[in-house]
Symmetry: C2
Subunit: 327 residues, 2 copies
C-alpha cells in the first residue's frame, strides 16, 4: 500500500441503474483481492457443532482466502472484472438459524467458526435471526476511533456488520453482491457496532429498494423488527438491552456509505501497519494497544504460514504480491 | 345452502397470468361474504397483552365480520367483484413476532385473540416465527375426517393453517390475496394439521413462484426451515417434536388445492348444519360430537347477537341474507 490512495469511482451498474453506489469510496486498496465469489470454494474442517469446526474459503487453485482481507469491498462483475456498482457481503449467519458463526479475525485464513464462550458454542438464545447477517470485507471498526454520532463509544474491533434483508437464505461464508440501503448505530456494551442494511442485488425486491425510506415504505415494520432484534437479543443471556445512537433512527444510504468509507480506511490502516505505528506513538490505553496489535499487520504476518515458508519475502512487498493473498 | 353446489371456475387473474388457481374449487358457498379487505376495518378491544384483548373486524357500516365465516375463500377483485384467481389469507401471527394470536373460533364475531393456557397468554417459546402465519377463511379441518395420507389422524377442528412466505410483515386480522404453492402434512399431538404454503400476490417474488418446486429452486432451504420450525416449536414447552406425513415432503399446488377443497366442503357442512346432523346419527365418540357441536350451526346461531335480536329471522334463511353476515 505504502500510502497509495487510488480513487476508484464506483459508477455504472446493472441494467435498471437503480441503487448503485451514488458516490465513490474515497480510496480503495491496491491489495490483490477477489471481487466476487467466482473462483472461490468452501471447505469445511472438523465436525459441525464442535469447537474445531471451520469453514475455510479457498481459491480455485487451493490457496487459503481470507473472507475479511482477500475479498474486495467493492463487488466486481466476474466476467468484466470491473466494478459492478455494488459491495460484497460476506454472510456469517444465515437467516432462520441461530448458531453464532463469525469470521475468526485472529486465525490464519480467517475462516468461519462458531463463536464460543468458556468452551461453549454460542447460539442466539432469543431465537432464530430473521435476516442474513454478516459483514463487509475489508472494513474494520477501529477501536481507537470515537465516531461523533456514536454516543462517545469507540469501534468494536470487528469488520462492519451487515443485515441482508432479501428472501434467500445465504449460507455461511458465501459472498454476495449487495445494495446498501442504510445503517443503524447500535451501542453494544459501550462499543459502537454499526449495522448496515443491504439487499442482495439478485433479490426480486432489490430494484424497488434504493434507500432506507424505500424499505420503510415497501416493507413497513421491517426496520423496527431489526432494531428490536438488536435491542433484545442478549437479554436471554442476562444482559441489558442494547441501546442506539442517533435517536434510534436508521440513517440513509448516503450516511451509511460514509460509515463504510471510514471503516474501509480504518481497515487499510490496520493492514498497512499504519494504525499500529500510530497507536504505538501513544495516547491510547493498554487495552486498545493490545486489540490493535492483535489484528495488526505484523501479527497477521506472523500467522501466515506462506510467509514463514518464504523468508525472502519482505512484508512491505506483500501487498503487491498477487499470489500471496492470505494472512 | 340447502344442498346447493355451485361450480365456480376460478380462472383469469393478474396480468402476468402466472400462478392462478389451476383448477376450479368444486363448489363454493352462496353465503354472503367479503371477497377482499376493502370495506373492512379493524377495531381493537381491551388492552394489548391481556386476556381481554381482541381485534374485531367490522364492515364499513359497523357490522361485526367474522374472519372465519364472512371472508370468502376465493379472493374477489375489489373493483370488478369477480374472482381474481387467488385465495384470501387471514393473517393471525405476523412474521418476526411470537405472540400466539389466533381466530377465536368459539366467540361471537370470531375476533383475533392471543391464545392462552391456564390463564397465561401464549407465545412461541422457540422464538419469533419467520413467516406470516394464519389461515384460509371458510375452511375447517373436520375432526371426524381421517385423511388417507395423514397417518391415521383426524382433522384438528380449526381453519386450515397457512404460511405466507412474502417479504412484507402482515398485521394480525389482515386479509390478503395469495397464491397457493404447496402443503405440508403436519401431525400435531395425533391430529392432522396441514400447513398450506402461499405467497402474497403483491410480493415481488410472487410472479416467480407458481408451485412448490419453484420455492425450492428460487429460495432454497426455505421449505426445510419451515418444516424445522413446525417440528421443533413446541419442544421448549416440554413437548415432543411434531412429525409429518407423506415422508415429510411438501406436496405441490395441485395436491394443496385438493386439501383446501376438502376443508372448504367440511366448512360448508359445518356451517349448514349438515355435519352436526350426520354426527348425531352416530358412529362418533363423545369427544368428537362435542367438538362439532361446539362449532356447529346451532351453536353459532346461539352466539350471534344479531340473530337473537331478530327472532323472525329463520336460521335456514340466514345464508341468503346479505346483511346478516356474522355468527
Amino acid at each position: 500500500m505504502e500510502g497509495d490512495e487510488i480513487l476508484v469511482p464506483i459508477t455504472g451498474g446493472p441494467v435498471d441503474g437503480s441503487g448503485v453506489i451514488s458516490r465513490p469510496l474515497s480510496r480503495t486498496s491496491s491489495r490483490a483481492s477477489f471481487g466476487s465469489d467466482r473462483d472461490l470454494k468452501l471447505q469445511s474442517e472438523g465436525p459441525e457443532n464442535t469447537l474445531e469446526y471451520r469453514i475455510q474459503v479457498k481459491s480455485d487453485c487451493g490457496r487459503v482466502v481470507s473472507l475479511w482481507h482477500d475479498i474486495s469491498l467493492t463487488h466486481k462483475d466476474p466476467n468484466e472484472k470491473t466494478d459492478s456498482g455494488y459491495l460484497n457481503f460476506v454472510c456469517e449467519i444465515p437467516k432462520f438459524t441461530r448458531k453464532k458463526y463469525e469470521i475468526a479475525t485472529d486465525e490464519i485464513g480467517n475462516p468461519i467458526k462458531q463463536d464460543e464462550k468458556k468452551g461453549v458454542l454460542r447460539e442466539f438464545k432469543k431465537g432464530d435471526i430473521f435476516f442474513n447477517y454478516g459483514c463487509l470485507p475489508q472494513t474494520w471498526e477501529d477501536p481507537t476511533f470515537y465516531h461523533p454520532d456514536a454516543e462517545g463509544c469507540r469501534g468494536d474491533n470487528d469488520p462492519l456488520d451487515v443485515c441482508e434483508i432479501g428472501a434467500r437464505i445465504i449460507p455461511p461464508a458465501s459472498v454476495r453482491p449487495v445494495k446498501v440501503l442504510g445503517v443503524l448505530c447500535m451501542i453494544d456494551e459501550g462499543e459502537a457496532d454499526w449495522k448496515v442494511v443491504v439487499i442482495d442485488v439478485h433479490d426480486k425486491w432489490a430494484p424497488f429498494l434504493n434507500d432506507i425510506e424505500d424499505v420503510e415504505q415497501e416493507l413497513p415494520g421491517t426496520l423496527d423488527a431489526i432494531r428490536e432484534w438488536f435491542r433484545t437479543y442478549k437479554i436471554p443471556d442476562g444482559k441489558p438491552p442494547n441501546v442506539f445512537g442517533l435517536d434510534e433512527q436508521f440513517m440513509n444510504k448516503k450516511y451509511a456509505m460514509e460509515i463504510i468509507d471510514e471503516c474501509h480506511h480504518a481497515w487499510e490502516d490496520l493492514i498497512s501497519g499504519e494504525k499500529e505505528r500510530r497507536v504505538a506513538e501513544g495516547g491510547h490505553d493498554d487495552e486498545v494497544k493490545k486489540l490493535v496489535r492483535k489484528l495488526s499487520k505484523n501479527s497477521l504476518f506472523a500467522l501466515a504460514p506462506e510467509i514463514d515458508a518464504h523468508p525472502e519475502a519482505h512484508p512491505e512487498d506483500y501487498d503487491d504480491d498477487d499470489e500471496a493473498l492470505t494472512f
